[in-house]
């Protein structure tokens, strides 16, 4: 049991709550799915309830919702221009989803859905698929100009085009791995330091005295993780905006 307590990986285990198996695929309702539902309910509920009074002079909570809305709106407008505003619902839901998922994950015993690469990869693929589909719809084959920078000599194209292609293909990977790795690493670190507190205080009076240091560390890390949770949601949204800008204006 002692080993289980300090096991920093335990928090990432997927537990089946309602087993569902369709066509040989395991589609069970797991703790991960539960927290996706929780994230959606909390985020949507917050936005819905705080704005329900539609006050002209907003209260505190209504200001929070409005600030999030305008923050993402300005971010998108700065990165992709007014044309980019048609993607506002997508970017805003991505931002709110990642933000609330990260923040919920900070609660002890809560599951962090963004610490699973398949979740972040799914979101990243959604972004890149939107970019590709919209890019080809809007510009046709002209979207391929994205890979051909202007003003580069023809000889250099042999080198530049493959680099551009590789950089484009690596986008969903970097987008998803950045978020996933940050959340995973942070939660492991927190768990390790909290585990030190538990195992040290099991050693008697001296151990309890010695456990103050990792306890302080865990508190400081919690603050840091709060920052990381906000920052990674922001980074995810900003990069989404920049990639969408490529779909709107492929020739750079």
């Amino acid at each position: 049991m002692a080993a289980d307590k300090v096991d920093p990986i335990h928090q990432f285990h997927i537990i089946k709550l309602i087993p569902i198996n369709i066509g040989g695929y395991d589609l069970s309702f797991t703790n991960s799915a539960l927290f996706m539902v929780a994230t959606v309910v909390v985020a949507a509920g917050f936005l819905f309830l705080t704005t329900s009074s539609r006050s002209l002079v907003p209260g505190r909570l209504q200001s929070v919702s409005e600030m999030a809305y305008e923050f993402v709106g300005n971010m998108l407008r700065d990165a992709a221009g007014t044309q980019g505003m048609k993607f506002f619902p997508l970017v805003f839901s991505l931002f709110m989803f990642v933000l609330v998922a990260n923040l919920l994950g900070l609660f002890p015993y809560f599951f962090t859905i963004t610490s699973h690469i398949i979740v972040t990869f799914g979101l990243a693929i959604l972004v890149i698929a939107t970019v590709i589909v919209y890019g080809f719809m809007k510009h046709g084959l002209g979207f391929l100009k994205l890979f051909v920078p202007k003003g580069v000599p023809l000889v250099m194209m042999v080198l530049v085009v493959p680099i551009e292609v590789i950089s484009f293909v690596s986008r969903p990977v970097s987008l998803s791995v950045r978020l996933f790795a940050n959340m995973l690493a942070g939660h492991i670190t927190l768990k390790v330091f909290s585990g030190f507190v538990v195992s040290l205080s099991a050693l008697g009076a001296l151990g309890i005295a010695g456990s103050i240091l990792p306890l302080a560390m865990a508190v400081a890390l919690t603050a840091l993780e709060l920052l990381v949770a906000l920052l990674q949601a922001y980074v995810f949204a900003v990069l989404t905006c920049m990639y969408l800008n490529d779909a709107l204006h492929p020739s750079h």
Partner: protein, 193 residues
Amino acid sequence: MFVTSAFAQESAPATTEGDTHSATGVPAEAHGAFPPFDPATFPSQLLWLAITFGLFYLFLKRVVMPRVGGIIDVRNDRISKDLDQASKLKGEADAAVAAYEQELAEAKKNANSIGQQATDAAKAEADTARKKIEAALDQKLGEAEARIASIKASAMKEVGGIAEDTASEIVEALVGGKASKAEVAAAVKSVAR
């Protein structure tokens, strides 16, 4: 972060060992792999992500964002309307101030001219009064001077008489005998000259 990932790599094998030995509370689909990289959980997570995020997206797009956007638009409209109203009122106030100042300037000008007229009239009145008084005083002065001259003349005449009397008496006392009146008068007149 680097330290953390090193920790993760170190602790990962230990965990898997612990899991396979104890097998308590460890889900069956873990298979001892690092849970975030366990492909067995991918279909279920992707499905539920699609369902939850899809619903979230629709809810935000259909309900929340029109509402928040509406609130902000209404507020911006209201603010710009209020600003227009305020600038209109300010223009009116400025006009009123200008009109007031003009009236004030006119009133000042009127007051000045009225005051000037009043002072002029008062000055003229005072002048006439002064001239009248001066004339009266001049007249009185003339009368007084005439009187003084006549008194002086009569006094001189009497002085002549007294001198003649005194001279005739002195002559009488010194010489004895009477000097004729005409002689004395002639002598006095020659001395007085």
